[in-house]
Symmetry: C2
Subunit: 564 residues, 2 copies
Amino acid sequence: MATAELTAHELIAKHRPTLDQALEAIRTRAYWSPHPEHPKAYGENGSLDMAAGKAAFDALLGTRLDLGQPGTDGFVGGEVSPYGIELGVEYPHADIDELLPAMRSGMRAWRDAGAEIRAVVCVEILKRISDRTHEFAHAVMHTSGQAFMMAFQAGGPHAQDRGLEAVAYAYVEQVRTPDTAEWTKPQGKRDPLALNKQFTPVPRGIAMVVGCNTFPTWNGYPGLFASLATGNAVLVKPHPRAVLPLALTVQVARQVLAEAGFDANLVALAAERPGEGIAKTLATRPEIRIIDYTGSTSFGDWLESNARQAQVYTEKAGVNSVLVDSTDDYKGMLSNLAFSLSLYSGQMCTTPQNLLVPRDGIRTDEGPKTYDEVVTDLARAVDGLLGDDARANALLGAIVNPDVKSRLEAAAGLGEVALASREIANPEFPDAVVRTPVIVKLDGAKPDDEAAYMSECFGPVSFAVAVDSASDAVELLRRTVREKGAMTVGAYTTDDEVEGAVQEVCLEEAAQLSLNLTGGVYVNQTAAFSDFHGSGGNPAANSALCDGAFVANRFRVVEVRREA
Amino acid sequence: MATAELTAHELIAKHRPTLDQALEAIRTRAYWSPHPEHPKAYGENGSLDMAAGKAAFDALLGTRLDLGQPGTDGFVGGEVSPYGIELGVEYPHADIDELLPAMRSGMRAWRDAGAEIRAVVCVEILKRISDRTHEFAHAVMHTSGQAFMMAFQAGGPHAQDRGLEAVAYAYVEQVRTPDTAEWTKPQGKRDPLALNKQFTPVPRGIAMVVGCNTFPTWNGYPGLFASLATGNAVLVKPHPRAVLPLALTVQVARQVLAEAGFDANLVALAAERPGEGIAKTLATRPEIRIIDYTGSTSFGDWLESNARQAQVYTEKAGVNSVLVDSTDDYKGMLSNLAFSLSLYSGQMCTTPQNLLVPRDGIRTDEGPKTYDEVVTDLARAVDGLLGDDARANALLGAIVNPDVKSRLEAAAGLGEVALASREIANPEFPDAVVRTPVIVKLDGAKPDDEAAYMSECFGPVSFAVAVDSASDAVELLRRTVREKGAMTVGAYTTDDEVEGAVQEVCLEEAAQLSLNLTGGVYVNQTAAFSDFHGSGGNPAANSALCDGAFVANRFRVVEVRREA
């Protein structure tokens, strides 16, 4: 590291306090973030302000992002924003037989640097990304279809938080075992046995991150930083429609690694040609020892079954439910649910899909409400929330791809439509496909309806499922989580018994529960350092963001012992 | 717990200090054990002394160990000691359709008890086992074929240490997340968002421990206690030839659980009829969510491929090497190696198999030694160590099963025999099959020899593999660990460059290395709380005893959040 532009000493001095705060936050799980959420907080100390971020993004359009990777055998591109813009950015396409060995060659120095240096290098990468949050916001917006403010927050500070959280977990896991130990075992009157022991965290190999279309940075950063911080090289395989945010991430990581005296090839991009399906090829390469994946259940299952040489962390499909039994804040419940259904057109793995409502109605602070009234009032709340086109556009964003649009259109045929989806015009981006959510009434007792509500219908589609009773709802919740998995569960109840029953189902089936949310926190949002994203204990995901299990098997500890 | 004979308060008062010491030991990895190694240390404070332990074991012979398990549909038995005694103990055979649901029914209360209560209940189980160490020693001896002293130590205090180590790791992993958190997020001039959060460690389900023949308690306890301490129920499926030590363990665990007010069925035994192969049936049952297995690579691989509903922790076959390059204590090296090859007739997963010796010889404090001299001197050292029949019996124990005997006999045909195996008479147990180790010369450059030294030959068989040079040895070591796995690696060298190269191979291939052992510590022995057993990073085992990764995925954390 002698010739590095960034010395270990400087990096530790600069970032150790941030790391320590992150370590404290994951221990207390109180609110904390070093990454500002407000767009106006940027523009000083080297960070790009709103105008500069937009200009930086605009300057990227139509360019070639040559990362200088070994084995580059051409360039690929072709991203079209859900808002209608052709990005025209080209990325290196890799000959993996050349790239993978190049990625391995820097691993020894990265391993030998130790957990603390790796952690602060990762924090520096995140800091540089944070400084460019405005630029990343546009990149996330124009690949995921998120509205600007959401792309800014979820794709910027919230994603950076999840990355830093993974760095903190990775660091603390590696330093649980000391670097050295002196071991002296008494032998009665004879001399004691004495050994000197060295313990070294060693990486597994090359980790692959398979990015998703909707949250390229938020879902990509935890695996990327957990693997890098534990000494692995990381190959980022972005979703073909959401390359730019991860390509920029790789670019920053390579710059920081090189400046810190490490091999830039410890992080690389694997962009692909249309239809190339490179993830499947890479996933079974012997060099790939860790895979992080967010996407369909079918490919997630394929990875778990076939990438046997790798540790595989998957987030797949699930069916999220909200049980509606009773409330002492009917208006608050409706507005909270309306927001949850609308945010990013329901294109979140955490968006509620099934609203389980007793067919005899519910108790509220405004008196009893029938099933029909609840559904109608919720439809009205969504309508009210999205009544103004500017606000609707700011909340809904754009439909990310034609599959979501098709599912939305088909959903109206699944039952009685309580709230029809509407088209919203986007004056700034006339080609954007913007749609309000549909709410369809289904009957939990009808076998024909079961196929609909027991499958994930990813997008702005919710089902108001009529159930016989609260306990019927609880049992349907249990069955749904057990068979289909769930990233989130919500419940509204003022009845201790119902609350206890829902809670027990969530504990037994390992689902994360939000109770009686009526204010500014939504079931589909989790905060890094405090909330777990998924549980890793039901079919929706085999890991949680972020906990010890997410990092502990990304490295191993090798012991060397000698007589003292 | 109100009516329990053992209250939570009492258990915490009694065992929390032990737990705290264990937590400190895994952090510093200095020497520590609460379980005395000397047979004479037992006999006070309720523990059985030598005579009482022997009497307790004798009283078990020919009896039925009815554990009072639900679904018992008969009794099975038939263990014959490698020392020739028919144990005649009968164990319950279970209808698993009745037993598994019964095991689940106590899990809620066990979960709700929390990590600390579970930990101290586990410590109480281990304490009761510790008190009966002399009785367990005979049970381990007469199922594994270990000599008494080894059965006493490895089957007693060392196994208990590994169990306690797992309890400590499980405890600390569960309390990394607080029980509750208050989360308050500033919102500028508006009121902050505030949530109360509860975090509960929840078990995965029923864990199965598949015991092995050679170390029923030592290899069984880590998984058993890691799963139990994290809230799971544990079904113990012993090796049909080594049921008694684990049946006694299950009996103690059931007693303690019941006395502490929990359901005894949280721990149960699954003994099987001859040829029933119940492990395969159980391994794919949906109720079984965790499997710990020690045994053959073929069944380990089968479990990893087929028990997809479970977390699978396997220790399989491997090929352990010792690289012999140079030494400044030739006599110490020979006597240390001779002991390692002889202990328990080499029937340890950690026994060295391949001794990699340069064909041009090595440098020693007694001058240069040719390959032939090294091998001859080692053979002489083994002969000397085992020259006295009483000492030979005390070191070798008995051959555990006919397969090992067959392999030993066949080994002599694989190459030039440098040390022939001898029969040793055991005056106390005339039917015991006692054999000294064989050392066979092989040539690392001969393709015909490779099949032998690149396969695990479990038992008292070692190969003196002639290699071209130290660097040739290093490369063979790398290939062996990478392709076949290794639980241990040893090396003797006074050359910094060779030492560095061996160390680098072990770091890159994730193998545990012992350097230049010439005294009373042997490559095949590891100490709980300090040494890792295996690395979990090469094909010999997918997990290490014991680290965070061994416990972190045996439970999940469920969060329930509410507005404050």
